[in-house]
Symmetry: C2
Subunit: 231 residues, 2 copies
């Protein structure tokens, strides 16, 4: 009698789905950005401010991750962009499989950039590739300046760090230089931008970072395309 | 040939260690309270205010959970109570096994109440029994009033809910009645208390709740003891 051994690796299943997501996104020339951060750090609020600004330059869509409720998707739908609520039903992170089902519901031929808002949790989501092209980590000043040292992986994997709720800086003992110092230990060139919904001008550098990042990617993709044509 | 099947259940291992912790705590007549909540919701700050107040009435000790750094344990050590830092090294929740190792380092004969501060995460720690006798969930107003609906399990398992950072109420759009309404859907009699480090009087009702809870437990333990003596 032969004994069949079936090993199920949660991360292997996830990584396979993530790779499929990336291929599907690339086939439609859609970029995806994964937004990560603790509960209530301001991920949805940042999207509410970014979306009207970026909509001038590109067609957007959103996948909204949460454990329960469709409250965040309702906030995004009010901005007239396609949105799908992904419910983990208690799960502590988004999986690439769930994102795959979300992507299937988006009109990808009419989209250039998908924001994927992860579950509010600074730990578990950092271990799950969703097939995204970039990651933005958000840290609110009300969470405390000790968080980059405690939740290092979140800031390590981020392409951009946004420090949010800076209108509350004076109401807290958050020291920006301490937080940024700990972030820069994880990545000396890591861009860090400040944001508050109370000051609309603070969304501009974040929108600019996204547009420049997109342009750099497009140039690179174009070069690869030309190289392929020459070869 | 016999095939041996070894099933390793993470939760079963945890629950066994949790039961051992409870037995050990009970043998020393030590009560344990598990503090849970998101990153930066104010767990350590609440302890910093509770400890001097409760030290008048009982001998305390603290187990400080974090992914990395000993920063919280240093804050607690400054209050002159025994404290052990439990490091999960990236893990998203405390386990009963880690707590067991922490309890072994505390002078339990000289302690009446142990606070166990969990990892800053409103999701995963809610699934792991540590052997504690009560749970306090903390929600800061800066996290948003939608969190009880989104992170229901945290509030469901809590014996007491503390709404923290209420000095920032006016700086946010947090509606207390909305949050409390959603908490009460999960437990109609769930006690909810407001707290801010900026107003020392707000720690009093929380300290009172803990002392009354201890007295109720002691009365019950006494009654069980008398009943055992009669039988």
């Amino acid at each position: 009698m032969t004994i069949e051994v079936v090993k199920r690796s949660l991360l292997a299943v996830n990584d396979r789905a993530a790779e499929q997501n990336r291929q599907r996104l690339d086939a439609f020339s859609v970029l995806a950005i994964n937004l990560l951060g603790g509960a209530g750090c301001g991920k949805t609020t940042l999207l509410e401010k970014l979306i009207p600004r970026l909509s001038r330059d590109m067609r957007l869509a959103v996948l909204e991750g949460d454990l329960a409720t469709t409250r965040d998707a309702e906030r995004i739908a009010a901005l007239n962009v396609p949105v799908v609520q992904l419910l983990t039903e208690g799960g502590c992170h988004l999986t690439a499989t769930l994102v795959q089902r979300g992507l299937a519901k988006l009109p990808l031929t009419d989209v250039e950039l998908v924001f994927i808002e992860n579950v509010g949790n600074p730990i578990c989501p950092t271990n799950f590739d969703l097939g995204e092209h970039a990651r933005i980590a958000i840290l609110s000043v009300t969470e405390g300046d000790d968080k980059p040292a405690k939740y290092g992986h979140l800031f390590q994997i981020a392409d951009l760090v946004v420090i949010s709720k800076i209108d509350l800086l004076r109401a807290t003992d958050f020291r920006v230089e301490r937080a940024v110092g700990d972030i820069r230990k994880l990545g000396p060139d890591k861009p860090v931008l400040a944001f508050t919904a109370a000051d609309p001008t603070t969304v501009e550098p974040i929108a600019d970072w996204i547009l420049q990042w997109r342009d750099r990617r497009n140039v690179r993709a174009g070069a690869e395309h030309n190289q392929a044509a020459v070869a």
